[in-house]
Point group: C2
Amino acid sequence: MLTLFHHPMSAASRFIRLIFGEYGEEIALIEERPWARRKEFLSLNPAGSIPVLLAEGDVPIVGGTVISEYIDETRGVLKRERRLFADTSVERAEIRRLVDWYLGKTENEVTRHLVRERVYKPLMPAGEGGGSPDSAVIRTARSNLKQHLKYTNWLAGTRNWLAGDRITYADMAGAAALSTLDYLGEINWSEYPAAKDWYTRMKSRPAFRSVLADRVRGVSPVSHYADLDF
Amino acid sequence: MLTLFHHPMSAASRFIRLIFGEYGEEIALIEERPWARRKEFLSLNPAGSIPVLLAEGDVPIVGGTVISEYIDETRGVLKRERRLFADTSVERAEIRRLVDWYLGKTENEVTRHLVRERVYKPLMPAGEGGGSPDSAVIRTARSNLKQHLKYTNWLAGTRNWLAGDRITYADMAGAAALSTLDYLGEINWSEYPAAKDWYTRMKSRPAFRSVLADRVRGVSPVSHYADLDF
């Protein structure tokens, strides 16, 4: 069984857990506090970031996008119509663009700020950057989030799944980012009906169960978090 | 001929120009001011970011990493020993990790801050975020840069090329990021001899000529920028 170093509030980690879930492959999870810069962990990934997959032969594969490409090359290509990637280069580019959107753009403009201020900072020792949340940072991230939800609503309203007709990595990345923000009660779904419909379909997938069971110390999820009819 | 929307001070754009250069394929360049959010450009890439490649059939391929995967799938695989990627999934993961390092981590911790403060801000209208550089931001980015140079020095000192025995996308990404910072005179190469030796080899490659000829309005390059013996 492969091992994933992750954190429940890391969108890129959820992305990888969802992919393995869709492919029906169990993995061992080790929770890593990304701010702790643990020595043994830095020897696996000098960047200190999560997720890191210990793949076959305990080779560390580093980073959400990189791990997803590794999974596609070693597993996805064998899945035929259940593959979460596409066959043509142009379709693959569209899927990768959206993975990048949610795990790069949304992460940098919204997710990592809200997770850091609301989840990590209260858990971090003062000397490692802990302390009270910065309300200006939270305000900016919340304002940015609206654009990301509007865009998701547009994608979900014009396509069957986020990247087109079939469910792909784009849906896993979008649901990974938005489920992290939903845990924190940051999403007013009623304003984004097409996105809500898409997210309802994602939530009801068996692969999503483990994500809906996530809990972090000090922050309870919003009441509808694990509710399939929200 | 394919068209690339780029900016001379965008590391991800340089990455793509270097790859096409190595493969001997000429491309048309259109300079895009990334802060301008031009309507026609947003219709190609709603994120408004560069680079964007207009590929075969004028399909937009968005983002440095995404474009590099597209080039590998449509060209690289045919290049045999000149391919800038690897054949095995584990080697590919290591190359991707380093591309991510330079175009993700270095970009977010160093490059985009120094480029924004020192190049873009003086060119941007006040209403679009222009103004004087923020010296605290510059100080933090410069302090972060040291770690990235140390890491590059370590990689270059322990491997023939950054990802291993052969020249790969990792070298293109590293040289793209560091050449942007070198233009701005931010790198004291004498402190990083192994990195300097590697960068000297990169600079002397024919693909590098167009990057060394880059100029931006308002900021002259450091005197040794295009010098192969610096």
